[in-house]
């Protein structure tokens, strides 16, 4: 349940004056925000709700001055950001599943070389890419294989990276970092913008 507006406003003011109070601010707003978000957007999974609420709270911690108390209460502002993030994530997920070709069927059609030459992008056999991939750690190679297979589930990547025993948020953060790093290195190798 949300605390009174003046309490939240005081926490926000403290956050502007002293950014070190971010954790205290998060204590006040994160759980009420997740609760309200779950109630207002029922089809969302608990993970989706938690993620959207966390992103919204981090956004306010990072740029507290963007919130204007004259325009709307802080809970409404946080909810607005979180709902937008949640909807964007859900839309992206739906789009991904809609356009995704089942991996089994791809393997059936192209049993020997199903990973090469299927689009206009650089082949993974290109020397510059092979050199970069050769420098990957075994965990990065496993992650790359999963990405090439269209895998998106954090749990699967976490398992491949050997971090499945860590807390969910830590897994998610680490998986994102590895994916970003792989993408940047591959893009650099082919001369594209990272």
């Amino acid at each position: 349940m949300w605390l009174p507006d003046d309490t939240l406003l005081a926490a926000w003011t403290r956050l502007i004056d002293d950014p070190d109070t971010a954790a205290a601010f998060a204590e006040l707003v994160l759980e009420p925000l997740a609760d309200e978000l779950a109630w207002r957007v029922p089809p969302a999974t608990p993970d989706e709700v938690a993620t959207a609420a966390e992103i919204a709270v981090l956004a306010v911690i990072k740029r507290p001055e963007r919130y204007d108390p004259a325009r709307l209460p802080l809970p409404a502002y946080l909810l607005m950001i979180a709902r937008r993030k949640l909807k964007t994530a859900q839309t992206a997920e739906r789009r991904h599943h809609k356009s995704r070709i089942p991996w089994d069927s791809v393997e059936d059609r192209l049993p020997a070389q199903n990973e090469d030459g299927e689009d206009d992008g650089p082949s993974f056999d290109a020397p510059e890419l092979r050199a970069v991939i050769a420098a990957f750690t075994p965990a990065e190679r496993r992650a790359l294989d999963l990405q090439r297979g269209g895998e998106r589930r954090t749990a699967v990547f976490a398992d491949a990276l050997g971090i499945a025993d860590r807390p969910a948020a830590e897994q998610e953060a680490e998986v994102k970092r590895v994916k970003d790093r792989i993408l940047k290195r591959l893009r650099r190798a082919v001369g594209g913008a990272p």
Binding site: A34, K62, P167, A173
Partner: protein
């Protein structure tokens, strides 16, 4: 501190704006798990979570020292270890930014500028 805020603090590790980024980078490069990071910084899980959500220290030497001293004192972290971790996080973030520049020339120029401060 709630588990939800602990998770939030870990999530902040994706963003170089937060000190959490430095902790995550250091832990990854040194192969440290959460217990290892806690031991390195000689702090509690609550202290670490609070520090994670702080801004990365300012890059100028005086600002860096002041920020590190303040955060270490406020949340009970080993100051020297925090300074090492934060510095490495800053350098990593800067190199990533340089690498993300659209051309190799601009990245090289940025790196050169770092080596030759005014």
């Amino acid at each position: 501190m709630t588990d939800a805020v602990m998770r939030l603090a870990v999530r902040a590790g994706c963003d170089p704006h937060f000190l959490a980024f430095a902790f995550a980078e250091y832990a990854e490069s040194e192969g440290l798990d959460e217990a290892g990071v806690l031991a390195l910084l000689a702090t509690t899980p609550e202290g670490l979570a609070s520090a994670r959500l702080c801004r990365m220290p300012r890059p100028d030497p005086a600002g860096f020292r002041e920020d590190v001293n303040r955060i270490a004192a406020k949340f009970g972290l080993n100051r020297d270890a925090l300074a090492v971790v934060a510095k490495r996080g800053q350098v990593t973030a800067e190199l990533r930014r340089a690498a993300a520049e659209p051309s190799a020339e601009s990245a090289a120029a940025l790196l050169a500028a770092r080596d030759h401060p005014e």
